[in-house]
């Protein structure tokens, strides 16, 4: 132990060798690319958060008196576009996934390091186009770009936004394809599929969705851009086009996209719950297969976004029952995580708070999907704030809580620094409370009938809206504090040991931060994942 520490002090990690800006901007090291992504997605998270603040400020009062209707429409549109395409879709895969997958597979890098770097540059280019859209007056179609409003009626930067999302999507495809080839072809000797950490299974399933789904949004956006800029109209009802066809094509990707956003988070939680309980994940193969089941079934349910669109009622029934099916694997995972904690040795350090917070919020988010999957009830609830509350519970309460939990959990590994654990607990609680205060009232507003994308509303709904905005303030505070102490820790945090949590996993058997080629010696794997045995003691450090 002491020998390892002494060696670490002399040795360089991936962070400081090779040195210089060019060495970072032209890196092929998956860990550096992960850090580049982390910085850029944080910037976009802040931008998307500011748009959300604008929306919630307007909704403090029933009348539209904070901004004009057009500005409000741009605020919610840009909030959705930035948060989905430039924050959530890349978030865990491009940061934690990029960083950890080669290490968890026991290898030196992903299969295609240069393509990994290309994916970051494509993301940046897409992001710059998005900034161009914002600077150029924004876009007001809603992130869903429904025709014919987006193709004929909107007077904003629709085509440029389509281009930005198209390019960001290509970045996503490259990430997914890199992960798949890595997992298939580059696992260390002895590392069979069923010895892989569940984080890898989750990302493998996510990557399947990325490569199969993203091209469809690419072509859908292309068709929209072609109609808008070249007059090659395919959805225009005046010449016999069908606006609902756009919705089918759009949701064929955008529904699986939500699984791109949550599956990696589920992978994070699997790792964290095992580590904080120091116990094998309960039902490992069930959790692994449930990721695949979600990825596959997720492609078969897109029509549940079209129940009142004039879609055939029989198609609606098929989509509804398959949607019920896709809920089951998520339920299976949740029960397995809870069972993992049974007779575990559960630490009360900050990662546990993030895990428990995730479980509560993800439960509500996932379960409220059932309301919307239920056909008759969806007629009343669709296009209301109930939907807004549902998807924020999963995407923010679930995915972002998992992302931040994972950032906290692997922070020592990635940066070599410890953050103040007490702060990690405080912000987990702040985020949990703030989140519930923001979004729970929206379920009530939705059942009352408050439609989405409204900037003015009947007076009787003001109390609930004020509660929601207050919650958003608390949530924003939680995120801002998190950012502050994590950055602080880079300069003033304690040096992290190789294994601060006493967890099992290949990433904990290399130094914090790891060397450029990840391991001093190529790993050979001889045991299953999460092999916590009382006989073999674990040491923190």
């Amino acid at each position: 132990m002491t020998t390892a520490v002494a060696v670490a002090e002399e040795r360089h990690s991936y962070l400081d060798a090779p040195y210089g800006i060019a060495a970072w901007l032209l890196t092929k090291d998956h860990k550096r690319i992960a850090m580049l992504y982390l910085i850029s997605i944080t910037v976009f998270f802040a931008v998307g958060g500011l748009f959300a603040a604008g929306v919630r400020l307007e909704l403090l009062t029933p009348k539209g008196d904070f901004v004009t209707p057009d500005v409000y429409n741009k605020l919610f549109t840009l909030h959705g576009i930035v948060m989905i395409f430039f924050f959530l879709i890349p978030s865990i895969p491009a940061t934690l996934g990029n960083f950890l997958i080669p290490i968890m597979c026991g290898t030196k890098d992903l299969a295609f390091p240069r393509i990994n770097l290309l994916s970051w540059y494509l993301y940046v280019i897409g992001g710059l186009l998005a900034v161009g859209v914002i600077a150029g007056g924004g876009v007001d179609t809603g992130w869903t770009f429904y025709t014919p409003y987006s193709t004929t009626a909107s007077t904003t930067n629709v085509a440029l936004t389509g281009m930005a999302a198209f390019i960001a999507g290509f970045s996503s495809i490259l990430t997914g394809f890199n992960f798949i080839v890595t997992v298939h072809r580059m696992r260390a000797p002895g590392l069979t599929w069923f010895r892989l950490p569940l984080f890898v299974w989750a990302h493998y399933a996510t990557s399947l969705v990325m490569i199969l789904g993203t091209p469809v949004i690419a072509i859908t956006l292309t068709l929209m851009m072609a109609e808008r800029t070249l007059g090659l109209a395919v959805f225009d009802p005046k010449i016999g086009g069908d606006p609902v066809l756009f919705q089918h094509l759009f949701w064929f990707y955008s529904h699986p996209a939500v699984y791109i956003m949550i599956l990696p988070g589920m992978g994070v939680i699997s790792e964290m719950v095992a580590a904080v309980s120091r116990k094998q994940v309960f039902g490992y193969s069930f959790v692994a297969f449930s990721s695949l089941a979600i990825a596959i079934l997720g492609f078969l349910v897109w029509g549940h976004h079209l129940f009142v669109s004039s879609q055939s009622i029989y198609a609606g029934m098929v989509f509804s029952i398959i949607t019920m099916l896709v809920a089951v694997p998520s339920a299976v995972k949740t029960f397995n995580w809870a069972a993992t904690m049974y007779k575990g040795s559960v630490t009360w350090e900050s990662p546990t708070y993030w895990v428990i917070g995730f479980m509560g919020l993800f439960l509500i988010g996932g379960l409220t999907g059932l309301f919307l999957a239920t056909l008759g009830l969806d007629i009343h609830l669709t296009d209301t704030y109930f939907v807004v509350a549902h998807f924020h519970y999963i995407m923010v309460g679930g995915a972002i809580m998992a992302f931040l939990g994972g950032i906290h959990f692997w922070w020592p590994k990635m940066t070599g620094k410890m953050y103040p654990d007490a702060m990690g607990k405080v912000t987990a609680i702040l985020v949990f409370v703030g989140f519930n205060l923001t979004f729970f009232p929206q379920f009530v507003l939705g059942y009352m009938g408050m439609p989405r994308r409204y900037h003015s509303y009947p007076e009787e709904w003001q109390v609930l809206n004020v509660l929601s905005t207050a919650g958003a303030g608390v949530l924003g505070l939680g995120y801002t504090l998190t950012f502050c102490y994590l950055v602080w820790s880079l300069f003033k945090g304690k040096t992290a040991p190789a294994n601060p949590w006493g967890a099992k996993g290949l990433e904990w058997e290399t130094s914090s931060p790891p060397p450029t080629f990840n391991f001093d010696a190529d790993p050979v794997v001889t045991e299953p994942a999460y092999n916590y045995k009382p006989a073999q003691e674990v040491h923190v450090g």
Binding site: L212, V216, I219, Q536
Partner: protein
Amino acid sequence: MADASHLHAHGHPSTPLGAGAAHAEHHPRQQHHFYSMDQQLEASILGMWIFLVTEIMFFGGLFMAYIVYRTAYPDAWAAGSNHLNVLMGGINTLVLICSSVTMALAVRCAQIGSRRGQVVNLILTILFGTVFLVVKYFEYAEKFEHHLVPGPHFDPALPAQQQIFFALYFIMTGIHAAHMVVGIVLMLIILGMAWKGRFGPDYYGPIEVSGLYWHFVDIVWIFLFPLLYLLGAHLGH
């Protein structure tokens, strides 16, 4: 450090210990994170197949739109198809098939180490691809002349839904042509590498995966041609 009993230096021939020691057995084209040329080749081929799957999904969206509208407006589709130039489309089909043959030969020549064979076949492939694009240019020009471009100049005597047919025609063949351009650029790069004698029986990954891409673009055309050009009872104008 935690239990390290299952970590030990492994006798892989090209594994650097620490910061990358060079090994004599290392093929100059082997990248640092692969432990053998075989692994590198397999990874590249799997990667290209996955990329082609994404391309299938990309074109798939277009084929879906095509199917939906053809089912709704079969007459307009047949009538629209009759306006297309089957001769030019047919020539392009032959040209692309030939280019796939020369492409396959180029890969074969790389695998057996024939530098001359690679270069000749790659040049032919690029030529065929260029012929395709030139014919396409003339085809598009003809559409402009005959007022078949959707929008304000579309022939008002024709039913409105034919505009959707032509919109899809331009988008599908246009995106295909864009893929051809990318393919030609790719082949020029491969030609440069082949000219320098880079490929041989021990290293032909790049030309093989580029060949896969080229064949795929060809196959997309094989689907586009009958679906766009060969509908309707009459072939001709």
